[in-house]
């Protein structure tokens, strides 16, 4: 049984009451009454059986006593059997036979115990007579009353007392000296003698009543325990999950029907097994460690585990287990609740498979978009190129208008493709960023310069309230930062009515700088802000006549995150909008590398005449390299800030060495490299890649594509000069150099 039986009486009574009134109420009370009656009846029968033996024993004792004390009576020299022997045999038998017969026929009956009571007291009288009225034999009366109280029925004392009283009363009248030792006894002597019997009976009756109360209390407790146990058993057996009582030796002590259904074994079969017999081999040891943890003091554990069904199929379950201890706190058995999670595991596996499928699909989509991008760009190049040529060939006004439509549509399509591609790359985790120190003021002013014509055209006042100088650097991808700022400023200008204002400001916050674009436009309702960064959701602007794809802000937010920053907005309808991008500040590379530059210049000088083309969009990096090579008269440095321009300059000047950045505004660096390799004029020119992307995959990719060396930013000047001095038009060495 799993219900503890320990506890004090008071607590048990309390528990009894609770159980009686709450668990089964009336049924429990009826059960208690039935148990009480059963207990009484059993006690009556047991006491009857006791008296059967006592009466027979007393009869035998009477005979033995008579034989020992006065077997013969003498008349001179002759003797004969004394009447005491006959009295013991016959009278004792008459006294005994009747109650013994009733005990046999009606054990436990009330009349039986009353006859027993009378017989027992008659036996006392007989014994007293046989022993010659010895005072010691009178104790048999009191002893008999005590034994009669074993019935726990005070009423049996009444006939016993009546017999004693009558015996004393009658003998007091007819044979007073046999009772009182005097020939003339006062009638009050009978009352006195009977009084002592009554005195004892009073206390015996109290003891009987108390005993009956205890029996009733025990019956109540038993009924309550039965009810509690029945409730526990019902919970255990009818629980919708598997329930197991497991011994410390891992043997199943008890299981419910649900668990049997789970594993496919019958209860009888499981009770012959140990847990390990139906556990997947790889889960046996972990399960034992968890069980040991419970024994060592852990309150409970929940874990997944595999059972093996009877048909050999695996069964995934989630188990919650605790350790049941006995009243002394010693480990007794484990109680486990087992839930079938096979379906969940199957769903998880399907979900995992689905995710992998989705990843593959996403990858395929990215591949598709990448290929489509290339395929779309090529005809777009022709459309836009020839459109621009047509515009220069003095078209008529009508033709010019049509040409402008063609060019505008082509550019819109190009932007759309670029943004879709960028978002796709970001979501696929394939966006290549070149995080490096970027001069904020420089990028900001470039973006402002680009935006001024558009703002002027729309009569928007574009103001700047920032004191940024050239020493403020952030860690970012220069092109992407510029893209974000342009996008935010373009939106501000586009969605601000004519004669409105757009302001650019900044805030420093710890190690961050916040670039803020504020406009006086219509603002965005608060309830729509949550959809602001959802791709293709223009919040209803598609009906406003303002051109857009709905991808710009989504792209800006993802780019800001990718660069380790954040992008936020504060707006409400009719109050304009404030967008900001926040990025981490970083140290100026010029300051950090100034010492290295001087040291490198002192150590090594390039003697041989060299013509070097540096294709880089970041002005800081260009300045850095220019400063580094300023004392190298043998070196003639040509720079290009765009990929296409770099290709043109390469074909025009055929430099001895090309330094190539990978993140260029118009073309990716790897494409520039590919075109250089493809062109016969430039194929032999060694290309050294300078990039912040130092991943092994990227380096391997570029070296395989034909780069001679790969220098990582920040640039180690000594290494840079060594590479510049030694790299000549020779076979690819696959050299990789990284800054210290």
């Amino acid at each position: 049984m799993l219900v503890s039986r320990s506890g004090q009486d008071g607590k048990e009574d309390g528990m009894s009451e609770i159980a009686l009134h709450s668990v089964e109420g009336k049924a429990c009370a009826e059960r208690a009454e039935k148990l009480f009656q059963q207990s009484l009846a059993e006690n009556y029968r047991n006491t009857d059986q006791l008296f059967e033996k006592v009466l027979l024993l007393q009869w035998l004792a009477c005979i033995v006593l008579a034989l020992l004390m006065s077997a013969q009576t003498w008349i001179g020299e002759s003797s004969q059997i004394t009447i005491h022997v006959w009295a013991a045999l016959l009278l004792g038998g008459a006294i005994t036979i009747s109650p013994v017969w009733m005990i046999r026929v009606w054990p436990g009956a009330r009349s039986t115990r009353y006859v027993v009571s009378i017989a027992q007291m008659l036996m006392s009288a007989l014994l007293i007579g046989l022993t010659g009225g010895r005072i010691e034999t009178h104790f048999h009366v009191f002893g008999s009353l005590v034994i009669l109280s074993f019935y726990r029925d005070w009423r049996v004392l009444i006939p016993a007392t009546i017999v004693v009283g009558l015996d004393h009363f009658l003998r007091g009248i007819y044979w007073p000296y046999t009772v009182y030792g005097v020939l003339n006894a006062s009638p009050w002597r009978s009352f006195e003698h009977a009084g002592w019997v009554v005195f004892e009976n009073v206390f015996l009756a109290i003891a009987c009543l108390r005993s009956v109360q205890e029996i009733r209390a025990v019956a109540k407790r038993t009924a309550a325990l039965e009810a509690s146990e029945r409730a526990s058993r019902l919970i255990f057996e009818q629980a919708p999950i598997g329930m197991i009582a497991l011994g410390l030796d891992e043997k199943f002590l008890r299981v419910n029907e649900r668990f049997c259904q789970m594993v496919g074994y019958s209860e009888e079969e499981l009770l012959q097994l140990k847990a390990e017999h139906i556990t997947a081999p790889e889960d046996i040891e972990p399960a034992r460690k968890l069980a040991q943890g419970l024994i060592d003091g852990a309150a409970r554990f929940t874990s997944d585990k595999r059972y093996v069904r009877k048909n050999g199929q695996p069964l995934w379950v989630s188990r919650t287990a605790c350790l049941m201890r006995d009243s002394e706190g010693n480990p007794n058995h484990f109680l486990l609740m087992v839930e079938d999670i096979s379906e969940r595991k199957r769903s998880e596996a399907e979900l995992r498979d689905a995710k992998e499928d989705a990843d593959r699909a996403n990858h395929a989509k990215s591949e598709f978009l990448s290929r489509m991008s290339h395929e779309l760009r090529t005809p777009l190049n022709a459309v836009l190129g020839f459109g621009q040529l047509l515009e220069r060939q003095n078209p008529t006004d009508t033709q010019r208008t049509r040409i402008r439509y063609i060019i505008s549509a082509g550019r819109h399509l190009l932007n759309l493709i670029n943004e879709v591609l960028d978002i796709s790359r970001i979501e696929a985790g394939n966006l290549q960023l070149s995080l490096e120190p970027v001069a904020v003021a420089e990028v900001l002013h470039e973006a402002l310069d680009l935006m001024r014509p558009m703002a002027s055209e729309r009569d928007i006042e574009l103001s700047v309230s920032t004191q940024l100088d050239s020493s403020c650097y952030v860690s970012a991808d220069r092109q992407r930062l510029k893209q974000v700022l342009l996008n935010l400023m373009t939106n501000a200008v586009k969605y601000t009515p004519r004669a409105g204002k757009v302001n650019l400001s900044d805030e420093f916050n710890g190690g961050q700088i916040r670039l803020i674009i504020t406009d006086t436009g219509a603002g965005i309702p608060v309830e729509k802000l949550s959809r602001l960064f959802t791709p293709f959701d223009r919040l209803g602007a598609e009906h406003s006549g303002v051109e857009g794809t709905g991808l710009g802000l989504a792209l800006c937010q993802r780019l800001a995150h990718a660069m380790g920053g954040t992008l936020g907005v504060k707006s409400s309808a009719g109050n304009g909008s404030t967008f900001w991008v926040e990025l981490p500040l970083t140290e100026s590379p010029l300051d950090r590398l100034a010492g290295q530059i001087r040291e490198a210049q002192e150590r090594q000088h390039i003697v041989e005449e060299r013509k070097i083309l540096y294709i880089e969009d970041n002005l800081s990096n260009l300045t850095l390299i220019e400063q580094l090579l300023i004392d190298e008269p043998a070196v003639h440095l040509i720079t290009a800030m765009q990929g296409q321009l770099g290709l043109d300059l390469a074909r025009q000047h055929l430099p001895d060495l090309i330094l190539l950045d990978l993140h260029l505004p118009d073309l990716p660096g790897w494409e520039v490299l590919a075109r250089l390799q493809k062109d016969k004029l430039t194929a032999g020119i060694p290309v050294v890649v300078i990039s912040a992307d130092a991943t092994a995959r990227q380096i391997e990719r570029l070296l395989t594509a034909g780069a001679r060396s790969y220098l990582t930013k920040p640039i180690d000047m000594s290494e840079f000069l060594r590479v510049v001095a030694q790299t000549k038009a020779s076979p690819n060495t696959g050299e990789v150099c990284a800054a210290a």
């Binding site: 020299e77 010659g132 010895r134 000296y177």
Partner: protein, 209 residues
């Protein structure tokens, strides 16, 4: 609890019969226990022919007993109490009757040995019951108390019924008389076995029924 299915009348009859038969048996037993034995003519003075020596400085007590009578154990027990209380104020004999044709071991009984252990009491064998006849005793346990001058002071039993130990009128009378006090009774019934066989009783024998 089992129900009763038997007729009440039958139960009452059977119960009454049982009780009546038991009561009858008890009555027979009590009658037997409380019926005194026979007593012959008792001498008013200490018999001169007796082989016993009467004391002249104190009373002399003579108990006539059957050495094998189980009822006399109670009388001997009472005698022991009398001797303990009187502490040498009386000279006592217990005369055990021995039939003429009985064997040599007739008196070799537990009763004889228990009498011998009582201080101040002398057990004496009585061949052919001569002393019993001299003292007029027919029933075992018959006790006589003679004064220092030989006069009979008390005659009777010192138990209240057959073999019934405990305080009794005979015992109280003897103690009082030895202590020169008034005794409530000078005679009491004697309860015990017959000292002589049937047909040998004296003519003056009185048997109380």
């Amino acid at each position: 609890m089992q129900k009763f299915n038997r007729p009440f009348l039958l139960t009452a009859v059977l119960g009454t019969t049982w009780l009546a038969s038991v009561a009858f048996g008890m009555r027979v037993l009590l009658n037997y226990d409380n019926t005194p034995g026979c007593v012959a003519a008792v001498p008013i003075k200490f018999p001169a022919q007796s082989a016993l020596f009467a004391a002249t400085d104190r009373p002399t007590l003579v108990m006539l007993a059957h050495p094998r009578c189980p009822c006399t154990r109670a009388s001997v027990g009472e005698l022991a109490q009398i001797m303990a209380e009187l502490q040498g104020q009386v000279k006592a004999y217990v005369v055990f009757a021995k039939p003429a044709d009985s064997g040599a071991d007739w008196n070799d009984t537990e009763l004889w040995r228990s009498v011998a252990e009582i201080p101040g009491v002398t057990p004496v064998g009585d061949d052919d019951g001569r002393e019993s006849r001299r003292f007029g005793a027919e029933t075992s346990g018959h006790t006589l108390l003679f004064a220092a001058n030989g006069r009979l002071l008390f005659s009777g039993g010192i138990t209240q019924s057959r073999g019934h130990a405990g305080g009794n009128a005979g015992e109280s009378a003897i103690v009082s008389l030895v202590k020169n006090q008034r005794a409530a009774r000078a005679q009491t019934p004697v309860f015990g076995c017959s000292l002589v066989g049937a047909g040998r009783m004296e003519k003056k024998t009185v048997c109380l029924k």
